[in-house]
């Protein structure tokens, strides 16, 4: 069934078998549990969550480096399989978090950026060189860097190389996995501005994974909040930031420390213990830390309530808000 979405996840799950010592029984770690998402053309969909929420695993499944345990991943409406792998790699590319490990230290910048073109045999060496030069110019890298090595570049420059590599096949979607978290503040804004411009110029859509909510609020058109493998709230960025519904989303937003002298540090009542993904809490995974937990939260998994503002998975919203 063809849909309009560029990228769609339908009830995707992924679990791992974890061995807890030589003699203990093997346990199952459910990193992603029944996630459904849609990325429409032109979206900047931000995937927000903290460590252990499953966003890294989700990204790996989107990039095809990890198969889902169950569920479907659809690209351009059709399910992923071995035959259209080449087409998928052309359509979807990624920029990773660590500019120091995402570039092969023994290869030149030119070699790194041209790799996708050579793998997909797009053009002769002269044409490839021309494309690489053009893209390097587009991302703000001086042409002399073509023969340089990653250790000669700064963190921001390396991230530009990573972006250039992602763009060279003219993808429709770029998955940005914390692309600025490892950079200095003054360089972060350079790269964010670059991403904003590239999106406008090249008509890209982004799946933006980040823990930095200020950046997300600045960039995203849609947001999905993950907690312990599930999406607990999703919808338009503006709506979610102005009016967060899920208690976890509210706590997350309250934790964002904007430069506001005199406001002090908020007291977020979330409790000190972090949940163990190997033994997730019963009912709603968030209930042990939730300031608004009710008796049923411990027993029953919360329903997914979808309305025109978005989706939220919480017992508090069982009755539709009119």
């Amino acid at each position: 069934m063809k849909t309009d979405a560029l990228l769609e996840l339908r009830d995707v799950s992924r679990s791992f078998i974890v061995r807890n010592g030589l003699f203990a029984p093997k346990k199952q770690l459910q990193a992603v549990r029944g996630v459904s998402l849609k990325l429409m053309p032109g979206d900047v969909l931000a995937l927000v969550g903290e460590s252990g929420c499953g966003k890294t695993t989700l990204a790996k499944m989107l990039l095809d480096t990890l198969p889902p345990s169950s569920g479907q991943i659809l690209r351009g409406g059709s399910a992923a399989n071995a035959r259209n792998r080449r087409e998928r790699t052309r359509q979807l590319q990624a920029v990773f978090q660590d500019p120091y490990s995402s570039l092969n230290p023994r290869k030149t910048i030119g070699n790194i950026v041209s790799l996708p073109l050579r793998v997909h045999q797009q053009g002769n060496p002269a044409e490839i060189r021309a494309t690489v030069d053009r893209i390097m110019n587009l991302v703000g890298l001086p042409p002399r860097f073509y023969n340089s090595y990653p250790n000669q570049l700064s963190g921001g420059q390396r991230q530009r190389v990573a972006i250039a590599r992602a763009l060279v096949l003219r993808p429709e979607i770029i998955i940005c996995d914390e692309p600025t978290s490892a950079l200095d503040v003054s360089v972060q804004s350079q790269i964010l501005n670059l991403l904003i411009d590239l999106r406008a110029e090249l008509g890209l859509s982004y799946l933006f994974i980040s823990h930095d909510l200020a950046v997300v609020e600045h960039l995203a058109s849609k947001v999905a909040v993950m907690y312990l493998g599930r999406i607990v709230e999703s919808g338009n960025a503006r709506t979610i930031f102005d009016n967060p519904r899920h208690p976890y989303t509210r706590a997350l937003l309250a934790s964002v420390l904007t430069p506001d002298p005199g406001k002090g540090v908020p007291d977020i009542q979330l409790g000190a213990t972090f949940p163990n993904p190997l033994a997730p809490p019963s009912g709603c995974a968030f209930h042990p830390r939730c300031p608004l937990a009710r008796p049923e939260c411990r027993i029953e998994a919360p329903p997914n309530v979808v309305d025109e503002t978005g989706a939220v998975e919480c017992h508090l919203y069982k009755e539709p808000i009119l």
């Binding site: 200095d184 503040v185 804004s189 501005n193 600045h218 908020p266 972090f274």
Partner: protein, 338 residues
Amino acid sequence: MSVEPFVQVESLNIEFATARGTIKAVRDVSFSVEQGKTLCIVGESGSGKSITSLGLMGLLPPTAKRNATRLRVGGTDLLSLDRRAMADVRGSRMAMIFQEPMTSLNPSLTIGEQMAEMLTRHRGSSRKQALEKAAFWLEKVGIPAATNRLRQYPHHLSGGLRQRVMIAMMLMCEPEFIIADEPTTALDVSIQAQILFLLSSLQRELGMTMIFITHDLGVVSRIADHVAVMYGGQLVELAPTADLFARPQHPYTRGLINCIPIPGKTKPGAHLGSIPGSIPSLAGKLQGCAFAPRCDFATANCRTDTLALRETGSDRAVRCLYPIKPNASPDIALEGTQ
């Protein structure tokens, strides 16, 4: 008679001898902190902020050379202390919290053993007393089931919990002075907020003087009484927090503030302010202002003159030939926020 500031640092210089020559990591840094107050040292990588604190605590590696005209904490002249005396002061009167709690905690000792050691060594408590106090402090930092935790090893705990343990360990000796070097940077956002809340309330409760090192201006605005901005090994601006954010005087400070997306203020989807270029190298000959290559207002003098930190108002100082005047329009040559 005014009371001497609790922390006094004057003309601190720290150099490292490396294969590629001498690296001047910290150049002529001076600041002071009043008792019970918090100073935030803000900077990006290469600014020298961490090295400054290590220099203050006497924790520099042997390849480093430190000199200063004045280095006093709580009335004690740190320059006159030898390594052993310094270690004693560190354990009993000063505390330091680092970024990576896993490497600061000994993985082969239980939490209880490590915490108890702090007290038996520096306060001469008995082991039983020490363990009781340890359990008390674990509860105080919000760790549930404290007595059980004492028997656990660091790898049993999550990052946030380990950092709480670090804080408990450091504060157990009730130090007068605490240096926290990016203690929450490696933690999740919600945990960060909780740890900061804990730290600032404990600081107020115990009346400790704190130096907090970070790159996060948001954190700075919420917990600092005063801010010291560092760039390329130099201290470029010193100001009370509200003043710094309302009227930054150094072009770097202003550039940095403009770089951050501020929900509610910066227009979503628009360009953020940015500072072109990258962090300078600290090797080789260093002349003039470290920020000059990236500064929109730099002149030839900026690159050659030796600049001194000049006082520009009550409690304010800036190291710049052309500091920004209070009435200047906020949008000069920097990409706008509105």
